[in-house]
């Protein structure tokens, strides 16, 4: 038996693949920014918010971390219209990704904040900074720097998880791979190419974020 692989018929579809890559990166970038902001806000709540709010955020974190992303996505896309919230596939994907990343980011950032010595926050207070200023300028930057690699890993996991979004016809990379194989029946080659692209994306996004994080996002030149 001979197996003939025909990668040329996939690679000639490069404009499609490229648009898939842009969608995947765009979805990831958007949900990473909002997800980390959600994570910071909720981490603050879990450490110094009022008791009932702590409980709500804690339940959210545990519920999201213990259910599969695909179910969260299907719930957003198929379930929410029953409540009158009709979402496009792209919007449902972003919302599900933000909800998912937000829960993990909350836990990661909370761990970072708790690892920051109390004395630093107290020193901030003694300089007559407001609670908000202490959190944003004293507590948060070193906490983020400490957990940044973990946060980057989680962002990569969310990016790879976004392959599922193609199932509700968000035009990202795995959707494109599916589209190509439905046209030329080269399923194996098509998914091999998509998988290789995902691998390159994962490696380069991780390198980029690990490089850029300490330089641009928090704390400036000291890192």
């Amino acid at each position: 038996m001979r197996i003939e692989l025909d990668f040329a018929s996939i690679l000639t579809q490069w404009p499609l693949l490229l648009s898939g890559v842009f969608w995947t990166l765009g979805l990831t970038a958007f949900s990473a920014v909002i997800g980390v902001i959600v994570g910071v806000a909720f981490a603050w709540v879990r450490i110094s918010g009022p008791g009932w709010l702590k409980w709500i955020v804690g339940s959210y974190v545990e519920f999201i971390r213990n259910t599969p992303f695909i179910v969260q996505l299907f719930f957003c896309f198929f379930g929410l219209p029953m409540l009158g919230i009709r979402l496009s596939p792209e919007a449902a994907s972003v919302i599900a990704m933000v909800i998912n990343l937000g829960a993990y980011a909350t836990e990661i950032i909370r761990a970072g904040i708790q690892a920051t010595p109390r004395g630093q926050a107290e020193a901030g207070v003694s300089l007559a900074l407001s609670r908000y200023q202490v959190f944003m300028h004293v507590v948060l930057p070193p906490a983020l720097r400490k957990v940044w690699p973990a946060l980057v890993s989680q962002i990569i996991i969310v990016m790879l998880g976004s392959a599922v979004c193609g199932q509700i016809s968000t035009p990202e990379l795995s959707f494109v791979a599916n589209l190509i194989q439905s046209r030329n029946f080269r399923a194996f080659e098509s998914y091999i190419v998509a998988t290789a692209i995902y691998l390159m994306l994962a490696i380069s996004v991780r390198a980029l974020l690990n490089w850029a994080g300490p330089r641009y996002f928090f704390g400036g030149r000291r890192g």
Binding site: M1, I3, V71, L80, L199
Partner: protein, 216 residues
């Protein structure tokens, strides 16, 4: 037209959840065995062994599980194997699980002080004996909490097997949705069942971790 009561929905989902549990166990046990083999290869000092395992881990951790499942499904068929979704899903999830477990366990073995290896060598134990009697008993103790914790990822990972036609909890949810037109309720129930499966495992892993920290 047949009316579905809430109990009908929940009952059918619970029946399907058996397959989620079973597939998780297959992947976890299979992944554990393959992972152990990779761990031994990694530590044995065989030429290229460490590099192979590093590449393997990078490959499976750096690509979407969904793509791995599709490749297993379409790829194995290409070799003329007439495959059920069972075999493809079990195969892909086993490899995926093994890549994560070998990385977790490698960290645990690396945390055993070097002196333990040297002491074992000085007792003229060979590599297998060093592992068997000195290193693994200590490493296993540290490895249990993160390994149990990873089981949650495996259970959640099996949800993707629904996309290659494996009828488990998520797929059953989709099928029941198509019959009842009540996605909010059905996917809500699906999520709750996953939560009831996974949360106790997460909780147990966390309490094990707490115990280890308390001891040391």
């Amino acid at each position: 037209m047949v009316e579905f009561t809430l109990w009908d929905i929940v009952r059918n989902l619970l029946l399907a959840a058996r397959w989620t549990v079973l597939l998780s166990l297959v992947a976890f046990v299979g992944g554990g065995l393959v992972g152990l083999g990779l761990l031994i290869l990694r530590m044995s000092g065989v030429r290229g062994g460490a590099r192979f395992v590093a590449g393997y881990v990078q490959l499976f951790q750096g690509t979407p599980l969904l793509m791995q499942l599709f490749l297993a499904y379409f790829g194995l068929a290409l070799f003329g194997l007439e495959l059920s979704s069972w075999v493809s899903a079990g195969f892909a999830l086993t490899l995926y699980t093994s890549a994560f477990l070998v990385e977790i366990w490698r960290g645990c073995v690396a945390s055993i002080p070097k002196g333990q290896w040297e002491a074992a060598q000085s007792l003229a134990l060979n590599f297998g004996e060093q592992l068997r009697y000195i290193i693994l008993p200590q490493a296993v103790r540290i490895a249990i909490p993160p390994t149990v914790g990873f089981l949650v990822q495996v259970v959640k990972g099996t949800a993707l097997a629904s996309l290659i036609g494996f009828v488990e909890l998520t797929k059953a949810g989709t099928m029941i949705t198509n019959a009842t037109f009540r996605p909010f309720l059905v996917y809500g129930c699906v999520a709750v069942i996953y939560f009831l499966l996974c949360y106790p495992i997460s909780f147990y892993a966390k309490s094990l971790e707490g115990k280890i920290h308390a001891r040391s």
